[in-house]
């Protein structure tokens, strides 16, 4: 049998471990995210409130870690599902490339949001 890429016995082990580590990180960050953004009194989150939060470098560091782990966990999860149902080299390469391109694009858009909003001058 010809060995496909990523199909040695150890290939999935690190991804498996990282999936669980990122899961624990996400569990904590998701609750913080929900309480700070979605469960606040005003509900209909006004721009000013969000922008004010995003002036704190520590808050932005958390957002960055959240974005990174959420995308990693989500796209690695998609890849795990794909590995169960797609077995040809062609489809796997195609989908893996799409995941990489899509993930990079989403990461870029997310970072753009963090950087642009945190650099805005609230007084002006």
């Amino acid at each position: 049998m010809k060995k496909n890429f990523k199909e040695t016995s150890k290939a999935g082990a690190i991804a498996w471990l990282l999936q669980r580590i990122s899961a624990v990180v996400l569990f904590v960050l998701l609750i913080i995210h929900y309480v700070t953004y979605h469960f606040i009194a005003s509900g209909n989150v006004p721009w000013k409130e969000v922008a004010a939060k995003m002036q704190s470098p520590w808050f932005n560091l958390m957002q960055f870690i959240f974005l990174l782990t959420a995308l990693y966990h989500g796209l690695n999860g998609v890849w795990m599902v794909v590995e169960d149902y797609f077995h040809s080299r062609f489809w796997r390469l195609l989908i893996f490339s799409l995941i990489l391109v899509g993930g990079s694009g989403l990461f870029f858009v997310g970072m753009l949001t963090i950087f642009k909003v945190s650099n805005l001058n609230l007084g002006a």
Binding site: R20, A23, H38, V45, D84, H87, L106, V109, V117
Partner: protein, 124 residues
């Protein structure tokens, strides 16, 4: 050669673990779809207060708030079943994973009711 995995084999669905597994998978796929939308839509923060507040007012309609309640449920299921997966994988959770499932789902359900109450109180 590979044995092809059936997406839904009724023989396996006599057990709670199989349901947890397939629902974890489906909710995961739903969540990465939502995460992509969320990262994209929240980029409207960079267009300034007027545009962002317009988007947020649109999303404060009853339809989107009810969808949000559903989303909160899907998130909680995935998060709490994820806790179960971690406990089964790293601790001796396989010995009590069925009980664990119901305990964690009960906690998730309480959190769902609490969060849904807050979300629905935000309807404009």
């Amino acid at each position: 050669m590979y044995k092809r995995t059936k997406f839904f084999d009724p023989n396996y669905y006599k057990f709670i673990g199989s349901w947890a597994w397939i629902l974890h998978r489906l909710s995961g796929l739903a969540l990465i779809f939502y995460l992509s939308l969320h990262i994209w839509v929240i980029n409207s923060l960079t267009y300034g207060p007027d545009k962002f507040n317009e988007v947020m007012t649109f999303l404060a309609s009853p339809l989107f708030k009810i969808l949000e309640v559903g989303l909160w449920g899907v998130i909680l299921f995935h998060a709490f079943n994820g806790v179960r997966v971690v406990i089964v994988d790293f601790f001796k959770g396989s010995l009590f994973h069925k009980k664990l499932f119901f305990v964690l789902i009960a906690i998730a359900f309480v959190m769902w009711a609490w969060g849904s109450y807050i979300i629905l109180s935000h309807i404009r």
